[in-house]
Every structure is written in C-alpha cells, then in structure tokens.
Symmetry: C2
Subunit: 265 residues, 2 copies
C-alpha cells in the first residue's frame, strides 16, 4: 500500500489558489493509495475575525474544496485526507475530511483546539471514528490532538492502522511524540504539516514543515524539510499494524490494566 | 531541587554486592533530594526458576535491601526510589520502593510485566499512587510501563510532578517515548536504567543504559552512556510541572475531551 503526504503552503483566504496547488501537484504525482494534506488546507490558518472564516469555510460535503478533492480521488483512484475550514449553519469547525474514489466518506472535527482557534471554531462534537478504505483502516486527527495520547489511543483501540494527522504545527514537539504514538499503539502515522509564515498586526506564525511518516516499530519512513513543498510517498504493509503482539507474551492492547485507569475518563 | 539517577550493573543473585555498590556510590555522591535506581536493583533480572527469586526477594518493608536504603536516606537526608524483587507470602512482585529520611514510604508493584517476567512475578495489584516528598510530588513506574501512555497519564492526573522510572531496558524505544510522556503531561521524568549483560542457556539480554532525565518542555536534562556506571544529578524547579497551562488558552488537563475517551477504560 502506498501512503504519503503533501506538504505545501496554503495561501490565506484563497481557496481557488489552494485547490489549484493541490490539483497541480497531486495530478502529476506518482500513484498512491492514500495521501494526507495539512490542516486548513483550503483556507490558511491565521484568522483575525469570523468574517474571514465565513468567506472561505464550506458546508461538507458539497462545497467547492471537497468537490475538487472528490474529482482528484476519482481520477487517481485513491483516498485523500485534508484539513478543511467547515461551516455548519452559523458555526465553524476545524475539520478534516476523508474522500475516496467513490466520493466523500466522512468528516472529523478537531477535538482539541489550539490557542486562538478557540476564538473562531467550535470544539469537535463527533466521536473519533475509524474507516475501512480497503487496504487499511484509517483514523483522522488534527494538529494539536497529538499532545493528548488519548487521541491516537482511542483510534487504535477502534482498529485504526494508519493515523492521518493533518497539521499546521508551530511547536517543535509533535514529530517526536508521533514516534511514541506509533510504537505505543503499533500503528503507522502520517503527519502532513504546512510550511510558510502567516502574520497579522499582533502575531507572526512560522509553520515548521518536517512532515513525516512513522512505523509501528518507531521508524521514520519519510520526512520532509522545514520549508519546501514536497510530496513523499512510501510503500507500507498495513498488516504490521494489525499485530499488537510485540513478543510471545506481550500484547499492547490485551496487557492494558484498565482497572487501574479509571481516572482517565 | 536536586534529582538524579544511579545507573549501574546489579549483580545477579548477589544482594550484598548490590547493596555495597549502592552504598559506596551514593555515600560519596554530591547531595541530592531524590535519586532513582534501576529495576530489580537488589537481585538482577534474568531468573530461570522461582527458587532463585526465593533466594533474593524480600518482604517489604523489613528486608535487608530496603533497610539499607533507609540508612542511606537518613544519612543523605534524601529520597531513593529503587527496584526490588518483592516477596509477599509465597508470591513475588517486580516492585519499586520509595524510601526517605523518615524511613520506608511505599511500594509500587509493576502493572505491566514484560515477557518472561510473567513466568515469575504476579502482575501489580495496587493503584498508581502519588507521594508528596516535600519538595515535589512523585509517582513510581517500572520499565515496560513506559509503553502504556496510561501509566504516566494516571500518575500526572493524580498530581505527580516527577515520574520515577526504574528500568532494565533492552529495547531502544523508551528514551524517545519518555520525552513524549514529559511534554504531554508537563512532568519531569527520571529513567534509571541498568547496564551490562545477563545470560542463561537460552537467552542473552543486553541492557541499554542511557538513563535520562527529561523536562516538561521535552528537554533531555541529563543522559548517561550505554555502558558506564554513572550518577547524574540535576537541579530542577518542580513548580514547572505544577503548571499545565501551555499558553493562555490551553491547559493539558482541562482541555482533555473525556466524553470521547470512553473506550479507554
């Protein structure tokens, strides 16, 4: 199975330009079964007011951005996970979508919002779910969800073999933590981060790139640079993530001592 | 507050020699408030039969090994966490003890046994607890507990600021994962690993050293070599681990979305 990420620089408030960048790069790419794009890939990140979000966010499915993803998936016979500014009536979610050859599949709404996102987006209100895309089962999470080990744990316990992690990272910790997520759950992870800088009158944000793919044995299978537009695709065997036995006596899930974890919930 | 680890090579089945090594090194050490010793520091690791364990395991408190730790703590006016083969009636636990200037404090029994340990030890049967040692609150865990993110999470949610991780590591993953544990819980961690090799007719185990101390900001504050006997002590401010706010809007604990974590327990 071929999985990858597309690391690029979404242009703030310019959905059409972002669609064009994605189409242009993915259409000329080598084949893949699953590719992950960054968080808020349709819109850019640093909103100053809800009116800006109103301008670019879309209802899912049916909006411009997701419709274009559907076309790409059909033409490439592949799945895409991409961050989308989602509009739902009069409120907004920082979401990601799973789209495939047959069209739109589902939406994940970021459970753990980071910093100023809380000013514009509602916190996610849907369970963490797992989707069977034929060659593997995938789960979706977004950026800051990484710091809560519960996120990947829940997805993995529900059967996710590949974690699709759309991100707009500004801190340097996630790449190391996602290696831990991989080994502690025996899953593959794909972190698709963005690059570039956004600023307003108060704030400059520099996004840190270094998108990566990690394996159940804590290997970094692919890693991008800090500041370049890159597609990376690797071949994996998702069967490796089905096996939670790490030796003949230890199983990562069966060995959990849930009687002692009550405080977690 | 001065915290550290003592990385050494426990001699298999030779409690007296192990006590002597510990006394000799700790008595001549610079001052410390808390020091962590490896897993099974009284006994060594690679048991072939329960009779060997019978020979070295001790009731806690009151046994030779823990009594000597009490003497050291009194003389150094400090706390020690050390792995101990514990005997309780006719059964055995892979335990660690917390001992201080006033004597024995408590015992943790390893919840997640690794591989052949399951042949000799009972799985831990006590809750993960946190102890106030004056300058900080500490929690205890042992070796393979690292791979279950629930272990540190439970301790941190109960108030632990410093995680005392006695280990006999043979795999290369724990040091990276403990960096993640630090940042995701905003705690300090002390991993005290052992060095050296043990073998029997079937098996050779090489322990990997590289004991380390990590900070809530994912810094490695101290790290030992793979194969040398080392004490390392660093000065920390445990207040840093009391603060779970990582910016003005995000709190690592308050931001947890427990409604979506039900599967964890």
């Amino acid at each position: 199975m071929k999985i990858g990420f597309f690391q690029f620089e979404p242009k703030f408030l310019d959905v059409e330009e972002n669609i064009n960048q994605i189409i242009s790069e993915l259409e000329k790419s080598q084949t893949f079964d699953l590719i992950v794009l960054p968080e808020l890939a349709n819109s850019g990140y640093l909103f100053k007011k809800k009116e800006e979000l109103e301008q670019v966010a879309e209802e899912i499915p049916g909006g411009t951005f997701v419709s274009h993803l559907e076309s790409i998936c059909k033409s490439k016979n592949a799945y895409i996970v991409a961050g989308v500014a989602e509009k739902k009536g009069s409120i907004f979610f920082n979401s990601s979508v799973l789209v495939g050859p047959e069209g739109y599949v589902s939406t994940y709404r970021k459970l753990h919002l980071f910093d100023r996102e809380k000013l514009f987006f509602e916190p996610g209100n849907k369970p963490l779910e797992v989707y069977d895309i034929g060659k593997a089962k995938v789960g979706l999470m977004i950026c800051f969800d990484w710091i809560f080990p519960e996120t990947v744990r829940v997805l993995a316990l529900k059967g996710a073999e590949i974690i699709c992690h759309s991100a707009n990272l500004v801190l340097p910790y996630s790449q190391t933590a996602m290696l831990a997520r991989s080994v502690e759950n025996a899953v593959f992870t794909i972190t698709a981060n963005r690059i570039g800088t956004e600023k307003n009158d108060e704030l400059i944000l520099s996004f840190t790139g270094q998108s990566q793919i990690t394996s159940p044995k804590m290997k970094t299978l692919a890693k991008a640079e800090k500041d370049t537009i890159e597609i990376k695709i690797v071949e994996i065997d998702p069967e490796l993530a089905k096996n939670k036995w790490i030796n003949e006596r230890n199983n990562l899930f069966e060995d959990r001592r849930v009687d002692y974890y009550a405080i977690l919930t």
